[in-house]
């Protein structure tokens, strides 16, 4: 493992151990609902399901159709806020 990936792994571990990752996850989820991202994506799901057929839809279908669109639809303001929080965490929990 390169030093870089070692460092990333350690950061991730710390994020999880301190419960910060769960908090960030909840924050992101709340923000995405608030800004209508979830509703937008759900509407897109409906189209996909109607197209593929209610009986035949699989998780893989949904993941393949939804994930790229979901990533693209996240508003910049939400991204900014999350990034800010992450960077704050990184700054607080590593020695400089």
């Amino acid at each position: 493992m390169s030093k870089d990936s070692q460092m990333r792994a350690a950061i991730n571990q710390k994020l999880i151990e301190m419960g910060e990752r769960d908090r960030l996850k909840e924050l992101l989820r709340a923000k995405l609902v608030e800004c209508g991202w979830k509703d937008q994506l759900k509407a897109h799901c409906k189209d996909v399901i109607r197209e593929k057929g209610l009986e035949h839809i699989t998780v893989e279908d949904l993941v393949a159709e939804i994930t790229p669109k979901g990533r693209a639809l996240v508003p910049d303001s939400v991204k900014k806020e999350l990034l800010q929080r992450i960077k704050t965490f990184l700054a607080q929990h590593s020695t400089l």
Partner: protein, 178 residues
């Protein structure tokens, strides 16, 4: 690998930004997957297109707001004034008193066994005095073996395990043979 061993000074801002972006990317992916699973479950359980039901059917399920009736339209105090006929004693009992009455009438349930046990004990006491001979009378008056007076204390915790054949009851006749 401890966090405090990693010096962030070795990371410049762009690297920091890169790490933060990756973390964000993971979180967004989690959110998308979460939605996929939620939707998939809704589809398989049949409630995904629920809000798209036609107006006609929707009206069937509207909240009911009438007196004497609950939100589903069912009458909820229907059973208050009804009377039931007990299958055991054929008496007509009020619905709210029916369950306790059945308990006593059929001789089942916690209370009725308590009452029955108490009756046995007091029954034994009075029986002893009139029927048994001198020897047994002595036993009853013996502090160790008296049943009637002690029933609250002795009978309480042990009562559940006792039955008619319990050693204590059987030994009553054998104790202190004179």
């Amino acid at each position: 690998m401890k966090m405090d061993e990693i010096s962030m000074s070795s990371l410049d801002n762009s690297k920091l930004e890169g790490v933060a972006q990756d973390i964000l990317s993971d979180l967004v992916e989690d959110a998308c997957l979460g939605l996929c699973f939620e939707v998939h479950r809704a589809v398989k359980q049949g409630y995904f297109f629920l809000e798209d039901t036609d107006q006609e059917t929707m009206r069937d399920f509207e909240i009911v707001d009438q007196p004497g009736v609950d939100v589903f339209g069912q009458v909820y105090n229907q059973w208050k004034n009804k009377e039931c006929v007990c299958p055991n004693c054929s008496r007509s009992i009020a619905a709210s008193r029916f369950a306790p009455h059945l308990e006593k009438c059929l001789g089942m349930g916690r209370n009725s066994s308590r009452i029955a046990n108490r009756r046995i004990v007091t029954g034994n006491n009075t029986n002893n005095k009139s029927e048994s001979d001198q020897e047994d009378n002595d036993d009853v008056n013996d502090n160790d073996w008296s049943y009637g007076a002690e029933k609250k204390g002795m009978m309480g915790p042990r009562r559940r395990m006792d039955n008619q054949e319990s050693p204590r009851m059987l030994m009553k006749d054998e104790a202190f043979p004179q």
